[in-house]
Symmetry: C2
Subunit: 231 residues, 2 copies
Amino acid sequence: MGPLPEGIPMPRPEPISFRRSTLGGDVYEALKSLVLEHRLSPGDRINIDALAREFAVSPTPIREALARLESDGLVRKRPLAGYTVSPLLTRAEFDAMFEMRLLLECASTRWAAERADAARREAISAEAATTVASEEDDPDGWHAAFTALDARFHDLVAEASGNDLLRDGIDRLHAHLHLHRRYFPYAQAGATLEEHRRIAAAIQAADPDGAESAMREHLTRARERHLPAFD
Amino acid sequence: MGPLPEGIPMPRPEPISFRRSTLGGDVYEALKSLVLEHRLSPGDRINIDALAREFAVSPTPIREALARLESDGLVRKRPLAGYTVSPLLTRAEFDAMFEMRLLLECASTRWAAERADAARREAISAEAATTVASEEDDPDGWHAAFTALDARFHDLVAEASGNDLLRDGIDRLHAHLHLHRRYFPYAQAGATLEEHRRIAAAIQAADPDGAESAMREHLTRARERHLPAFD
DNA sequence: TCATCGTAGATCCTATAGGATATTTCCGGC
DNA sequence: GCCGGAAATATCCTATAGGATCTACGATGA
């Protein structure tokens, strides 16, 4: 079993004495990355044997990784016919997802404002102050950087809520959102960042009502920004 | 590959032309059942080779099923050292779970009251009217029956919310709750059923505030009923 | 008696092989 | 040209085998 092929962003570090991961774990991360970074598109067939040849591994770790990704909701399995990448959200699914985001993320923001320690409040504010380079410089790189920034911000808030189950639930939602976002232009980064800063300020000020209201407004506007994609 | 061994409640029906499941799928269901029906206890080591011998199958479908169950949160994997059943909730985890239940299930109940069609409202009321036989007659069977009834009621409400993501989230929470419940006596079935009936009546009456309030009270009391277990 | 080290056996992980099933291609009939 | 059936090929699924790693136990030394 040689090194993983070029183009797969998953270097295999040399084993060291406290290394605890396995090939199977690495394959899961690589496949997840293929999906979330859109090198496998929604609806694409995932050919186990071809992937095993491409990764130069046996099918066994591929199958295990796919089983995990199925439970994560990122791929779908048809028994005896294989796996596909989960499709893009329908309009109804999109609405359900934003409804769920509103439920989970408004709560997480309120709880963060109530409960976060000073270090976490500071980290949220610092993240909200982060900017990304201009979109004209590098459109693809910009998109990835902006997406990563947005994800980090929301995850920091979810972590600060103090409820791990809630954080996990938000993380799962974001994986679905990631799948979706590449295919629908995400306009108005400036507005998004301003909204993040408003949320962070309310959390810093330990203002639960203000924080929840700012997150609600952010998500409502984010939803509106996405809606043209369904026209 | 012969039939599955006695004692495993998973008959393998003869293949029929429209059968779409696989051995791997059957193994997943059987393992999940072992965990949720507590024939594997929290913290138990899961020995892949022994299970493969016991089920008279190869390790491959066992490993895939375990990968899925790990993503479901029901088992935990230590790389190179195998899987264990997820442990019982700590008090802090228990609190986080009930906090999450309150968030998700109060919303699902409110939405069900707002949105459910007449058939669903009727189904919820019918389910709430269902009773289980007396606990003295068959303590083990009673417990399983009561647990199943409770799960069905809550899932009907979640389904009636009209948001599949929310229903999935509640389902995942309930799997964790199932894991926990066998080890802590679930007292006062009468009170629980009365609370279910109050929730159902508010949903039937299309009263979102009343429904949400009834579910909040039910969950708050359920939580209190569990708390002595941590003493 | 306790701690450490070495060894044997058990278990985990992955590769390979083979059978079952699905999909694609080809051919014949209308 | 279109449709249906058969054959060929690809793919999926699972069993088996073998190497890597972990765990448990016994022996030895302080």
